[in-house]
């Protein structure tokens, strides 16, 4: 849904990050405890980069902005006000109905 170039770029970043994780995680998994001790920080950094690349790709699909949220809150205020006004009308109508009933 996002612009194709942005999507493609973020897709490539995710693919690279995924390949980096694959490479280091296999070395980590098959290595002994001392290899793990050596690679632990680098492995976790690779996973964090992957996590952020996945997030960037998801953000590409997001269309709603802060401005949209403000607009929606404003529309809510308008609908709430419409409700208050309508309540007032209904009250007046009931009053008129009562006057008619009483013959005033």
């Amino acid at each position: 849904m996002a612009e194709a170039a942005v999507l493609d770029r973020d897709m490539l970043v995710l693919r690279d990050a995924s390949n980096a994780v694959t490479e280091i995680d296999i070395r980590y998994r098959v290595g002994d405890i001392n290899v793990k001790r050596e690679l632990r920080d680098a492995r976790e950094q690779a996973f964090a980069a992957y996590s952020l690349a996945r997030l960037a790709l998801l953000r590409d699909g997001i269309l709603t902005t802060e401005k949209d949220l403000e607009d929606m809150r404003d529309l809510k205020r308008q609908i709430d006000e419409a409700g208050d006004t309508q309540d007032l009308i209904v009250a007046v109508l009931q009053l008129v109905q009562l006057f008619v009933k009483l013959g005033i």
Partner: protein
């Protein structure tokens, strides 16, 4: 003077002209198409859209958590080997044993939280949930204000469209780059290498290879299921969003038959998506994108986003 402009007049001079305008509006109830039932139907649909979108967001979170998690049995085995592994550690003067080594011995596979990634993900998920909550909250007074809120309801249509289209955008991103269970894959590679190294003539050889094959087949299903359920939830929520958008667009002319039709169609679409395989869901994602691209109104929403994406591309990350 139309009924709508009469209503605006009323809002401006709420008290002074109340009785006069009240009579006008009393008449309008009989000719305008908006009844409390229809307003209530929109409130319920918007709330259902929020609920469905939250399920999609839950699935998204679960999917990503799984991408960063090790198989539980791998952690359990490593933890059980604590005592033996402790004596295999070879500290150096540059890197003596320290507190981190205890957590390494206890669980070498589970990732320690990364503050930057964790914060950005938490903000993203919270912002997504907030967007659908704000949309649903917009209509909470609609039943009370159904006669006068027509313009606001019409103005809310593009927001429902954006929130729907972005669910399809998320599904598209997952279809194009499905989740990868890296640690499960590494565990399988380690097992592949172990089985491959079993010498010929060893009684365990064929049995180990057969078990590896079964594990691999089960793993493929698990990984695909993760993508499938996430895409399915996104499309189900988008289906509800599309029907809400149709109701909002026809607010003034909406009949009770229309409401029943839209609600029924949303239910049928959601049912039809349940249990579909990833390839079929991929087709549904493409169909939804096609539908949006062929509709001038939906397209306008996407074009607005193209500009936003271009701006985002220039932002430092």
């Amino acid at each position: 003077m139309t009924l709508r402009s009469a209503a605006h007049e009323l809002q401006r001079f709420r008290y002074g002209r109340a009785i006069c305008t009240a009579l006008l509006l009393a008449c309008s109830v009989f000719v305008a198409g908006c009844t409390p039932d229809k307003a209530k139907a929109i409130m319920v649909s918007a709330n259902q859209f929020k609920v469905d979108a939250n399920k999609a967001i839950d699935a998204l979170e679960k999917m990503h958590r799984a991408e960063l998690s090790p198989p539980p049995e791998m952690v359990a085995n490593a933890s059980a080997a604590f005592a033996t592994e402790l004596f295999n550690l070879k500290p150096t003067p540059a890197k003596p044993l320290d507190f981190d080594d205890l957590s390494l011995l206890l669980d070498p596979y589970t990732l320690r939280p990364n503050p930057v990634a964790a914060r950005q993900w938490a903000e993203f998920i919270a912002s997504l949930r907030q967007q659908y909550a704000v949309l649903a909250a917009m209509y909470t007074s609609l039943e009370r204000g159904h006669m006068l809120a027509g313009d606001a309801v019409t103005a809310s249509v593009p927001h429902a469209e954006r929130l729907t289209a972005q669910l399809i955008g998320i599904a598209e991103g997952i279809v194009k780059a499905p989740p990868v269970l890296h640690m499960y894959r590494s565990d399988l590679v380690a097992e592949l290498r172990r089985v491959h190294a079993i010498p010929e003539g060893n009684a365990e050889r064929i049995g180990a290879a057969t078990r590896l094959r079964e594990r691999f087949i089960a793993f493929q299903k698990t990984e695909e299921e993760l993508a499938r359920t996430t895409v399915e939830q996104c499309l189900k929520a988008a289906a509800m969003g599309m029907e809400l958008r149709n109701m909002l667009k026809q607010y003034d002319q909406l009949t009770l038959d229309d409401i029943s039709f839209f609600a029924n169609r949303a239910f049928q679409t959601a049912s039809a998506l349940t249990g579909k395989d990833l390839t079929s869901l991929n087709g549904d994602v493409n169909e939804a994108i096609q539908l949006i691209n062929n509709d001038p109104i939906w397209k306008r929403v996407i074009n607005d986003q193209a500009l936003a994406s271009a701006a985002a591309a220039n932002r430092p990350r």
